[in-house]
Amino acid sequence: MSKDYVQQAGMNKDVRVDGKRVAGKLRFNPPGSGGSRPEMAERDLEFIPELEGGNEPQPAGAHSHDSFRTGTTVGKRTPLVDANAKVTGQAWYGDDIRLPNEIIGRIVRSPYHYAKVKSIDTTKAEELPGVIAVSTGVDAPSKFGVLPVTKDEHAMAVEKVRHVGDLVACVAATDEETARQAAALIEVEYEVLDAIHDPKKGLLDVDEPIHWRGPYHIGSTNVQKRVFQEFGDRESLEDTTKAFHNGKWKFMGVNHGFTEPHAVVAHWDSNGRLQLYTPQQVPHYAHRALATVLEVPMHQINVIRTFVGGGFGGKSDPFPHEMCAAILARKAGRPVRITFDREEVFWVNRGRHPSHIEVKINANDDAKISGFEIDALIDGGGFASFGHVTSYYNGVLATAPYELGSFHYTGARVWTNKPASGAMRGHGAVNTRCAIEVGLDDIAEKLQVDPIDLRLANLLPPHSKTITGFRITSNGMRQALERVREGSNWDEKFRKLPIGKGIGIGCGFFISGSGLPIHWDPHNFPHATVHLQIDMDGGVTVHTGAADIGQGSSTAVAQVVAEVLALPLEMVHVRSHESDTSPVDLGSYSSRVTFMNANAAIGAALEIREKLLNAAGEMLELPPEKLVLNDRRIYFKKDPTIGVSYLDALHKSQEDIGALIASGAYRTPPMGGVHKGAAAGLAPAYSFSAYVAEVEVDVDTGLIKCTDVWAAHDCGKALNPLAVEGQIIGSCHMGLGQVLSEQMVYGRTGHLQNPNFLEYKIPSVHEMPNVTPIIIESCDPEGPFGAKEAGEGPLLPILPAVVNAVYDAIGVRVNDLPLTPDKVWAAISKKMKREKIDDARDLPVPRLDFSELQKKLIKRSAEHKIRDSRRQRREDEGPYLNGVLFGLDPTLPPEEQDETWKISVKPDSSQLDNLGLAGTAWTKKEQRHMEGGK
């Protein structure tokens, strides 16, 4: 180590100027004060709501948690609590686990797209010196899968392999080299079957479907899930349509591209219990699946979530390699570690589905959106994964933020011989959202109105219901649109920029937590549980199962506890790694963690708060409601000198019972419709976002450079603005990858051509635009201190914003993502040829000449703005159902007032001939309804 090496800047000082803690130098004064500051801080009125006597503005009204605000940490820019561990290299990721006596596991993978496994001979591998254990599919025949309704995975192939890279066997040896050699010595005899790569072919009957679901199998096709939904009045569409958009889209599959490849360590301890270390987003589902596959009760397994080097949905399934490690470790009697190469990460995949999506939009004379029709064929790859849900999300998450006259969705997810698609940031909503936002841009152009005004005049208000029955609570969509319009100087630029430069708008809508827990319907277990424990030292230990995957969930939970108890953040310690000590949590998916866990944590903290206030009240001989908490002290509201220290109050309340413990839980309120599939997309709250993107297009090469993004996201309340901005900027980067360069390329032989980070093109720092994050706070009534999600929703708008900006720049629409330069160039060339233009710089670019409708829209949106503001602040608490804009009475269900208003989840026979691509899945019968069957 060089002599100039400094482990931590400012080592010679006790307190660093940047406010971070110095290892071993944390100053704690004697009991009575606590924390690193010897004196009580002043109440920070800037972070206490104005309705509670502070200075924090509340444009969206009051919140039920307002009275628990202490001005300690909520709303302040807070570095993540695990940031020190990460930046100093002390965080322990999957592959950092080193147990004594460990051996290395290696997986044998299929070289064929689709084949029957005839036989496996492991003799030679077993004979190789250094090989400790070998396992094949016969060792673990039980099926598992992340969703209970679609368990279709095995630890290793039992009968068939379903894609190149599918697991066939595994070996464990004393070192990696031997394990690799052994893997190569395993002889597998295959019978190769006809593989399917094109999802369109997945809709057809075949001899050997990739999975077989018995009586529920749809014909003998490869359709895994089909969805039909029809709502609203579609009969009058033909007569009322003024503008019509029809967009046929192709989206390539994308992978999460997280930094840390999968890694797992399995160890059967001295008591015969499995200790499994894995970077999981959803440790609980892995826990369940392990119990099933290993045939061990759950209480004999301890799942230890390591630090997670990025998940984005790609670490949320229970994985076969986790089973393999456990099986090998059990056989070997030694800990087994398996770490993936990047290529293996691509074999596991679970990225966004490659999709064919068709969107039709009708707008009527008043520029109201009278019809939305979506058809989505999604390519699921070899396994179901989250696909059941994805199939719904591709349609139903398009039902807001706009008020619709009708909604029609047909979706189908098919199996193909590719690595499985699954959940990825913005699960199921991203591709359709891109298609409809671009569609609205086209509608606006056809009506010759401003696309932002078109949106502003068609928004659902706060506290309303969507056409399919989702309960919208807080809604900051309008403010988001207004802020990006202003920030980007939209009115000066849109349709006014020279060729090659363009600006575009896109909106987003996403769930903040999924309404129904996948695994324990109909039991009424809570979605999230948090335990607090405070011993005599005053430190608060928070036990939660919430998986911090870098999004900052531990920080959010620590923040809300610190806020309620008015303690410095360093007195709150989050323990969330082990299933042995953490209450069950559903994990980090569907943007649920802050909403649900922080709510549970507030519940637990309030319990402790009450005990502390009672104890202090007793000591001060004052009623508890006249006391306030502030920075390690509890004192009389009117005279801060009359008070006790936090520790004294704590010790008083600990008399006779010792450590204080409290438990908080969160469950969603009952909501949603009763139709089949009504639960898909239900959430206790929804986030809204609007982005404006500015691009430069090189018209000679088709290369697109996104230069600026104004990104407004409604997260209810930013508990930690620093983290919210990080999520917004990170989402921009990730979405920009999908819209410009990232794609999983399956070549002419169906092989994945680019399973590496050189050819799978994640944007570099040079491609990153200047992002201006704009936080909108709509104060969700049920969110913790008003907060909603900020992890996934912000990804959605960047795709359509860029695509629309490209159109503004060159007057050509490309409906095939990513917009690689070759596609853009081909589209430009085609147009040049058609219009007989030699120089691309002479291409006509779209211009806007406002029609009469524009005034109408401005008037309507001004009225709606007043309506929304009143509803947001609950000055108007009347019901609002989708359809009011079209003249319906908000107090009655639409189907009762309009005979033509449909609610249908199955096509009737007259519709069967008239369905989109994915919709044709409905022309097949399930086996149980087929005479003779297969």
Binding site: V164, R180, T749, P755, K761, P821, D822
Partner: protein, 314 residues
């Protein structure tokens, strides 16, 4: 990812390096030269044509010379990019190679001798086994070419180095040394149209340096690179042009990343009488990229017209 084991030789002088090479050849042992290793090591990690012996040139002094008329084979691309002594076309091309981290290690010699690339070839061993190997790394199977099937004679992997075309238009010469002594030749003659052999280097021979004509400082021009990302990416097509200041009749044009070698287009230029559009069309006609990089060949071929046009801009 584990590299296959190999023995590393670290000579301290050019003559020692030649001796080691000669001894290995006599013993019938295969070996590779390694300079910066940014091309070789990733290939080794993927078990692509790895050899049991590797001779490193890193310990030999005096191979990193950088001046207007001479650049040593071990000169790091970062140093070339940053140097004010190097011709601006060359330093510009060097600054566009891969990423800043890689440029710190990568060398001129390595870039000029870069192995050709192909998405059927630059894959892990497991991946290549799933396509039953390919002609360039057939693992003893005699596998066919996967880009142009049914012809297992020619490898059409693409040369994707950035610097070669700039040195070609400046008329650089390359100095090679091997067990049989040194030889010097124009860089344009160094490459050999075959994705496997790539260049004229004989067994045991390696590149010592390149030299440029004395009047090179009087030449001007530019290099244009087509890539999706402004970092990391190899060129999908590249064009360099140079001419003596004030004398467009001296125009030279070279391209890269379109076939298995970089190429200087003297015939196309002379037949076009200096008309840039005619040169673009002629090069377009004479180059036929194949589908083995990330962007489609039709696009890359069309883009060469744009790149040459831009490279020729005053």
């Amino acid at each position: 990812m584990l590299m296959p084991p190999f023995e590393l030789h670290q000579p301290k002088s050019v003559s020692e390096a030649c001796t080691i090479a000669k001894e290995l050849m006599l013993a019938g042992d295969e070996f590779d030269w390694i300079a910066g290793g940014t091309d070789l090591i990733p290939n080794y990690k993927w078990h692509i044509n790895s050899k049991p012996h590797v001779i490193s040139l890193a310990g030999i002094d005096g191979l990193s010379e950088i001046s207007m008329t001479e650049i040593g084979c071990m000169a790091r691309l970062h140093d070339i990019a940053e140097s004010e002594d190097v011709h601006p076309i060359v330093s510009d091309a060097a600054s566009k190679v891969a990423s800043s981290l890689i440029r710190r290690n990568a060398t001129l010699g390595g870039n000029l001798c870069l192995d050709t690339r192909c998405f059927w070839f630059n894959q892990t061993e497991e991946w290549r086994s799933s396509i039953d190997w390919c002609h360039k790394c057939d693992c003893g199977t005699g596998a066919d070419c996967r880009v142009i099937p049914n012809q297992n004679e020619l490898c059409v992997a693409t040369y994707q180095g950035d610097i070669a075309p700039t040195l070609m238009v400046l008329d650089a010469s390359v100095h090679l040394i091997g067990p049989d002594g040194t030889r010097v030749m124009p860089l344009v003659e160094f490459y050999k149209l075959d994705g496997m052999t790539r260049n004229v280097l004989q067994p045991g021979e390696f590149m010592l340096k390149i030299t440029l004509p004395d009047d090179v400082a009087d030449w001007t021009g530019s290099y244009r690179k087509l890539r999706v990302r402004d970092s990391w990416d190899f060129p999908e097509a590249g064009a360099a042009a140079a001419w003596k200041k004030g004398d467009r009749t001296t125009l030279r044009v070279a391209t890269t990343a379109l076939e298995s070698i970089p190429r200087r287009h003297d015939t196309e230029v002379s037949e076009s009488n200096g008309d840039v559009k005619a040169i673009c069309d002629a090069v377009f006609k004479s180059t036929k990229p194949v589908n083995n990089t990330s962007l489609p060949p039709r696009y890359r071929r069309n883009m060469i017209k744009v790149l040459i046009k831009r490279a020729c801009e005053e």
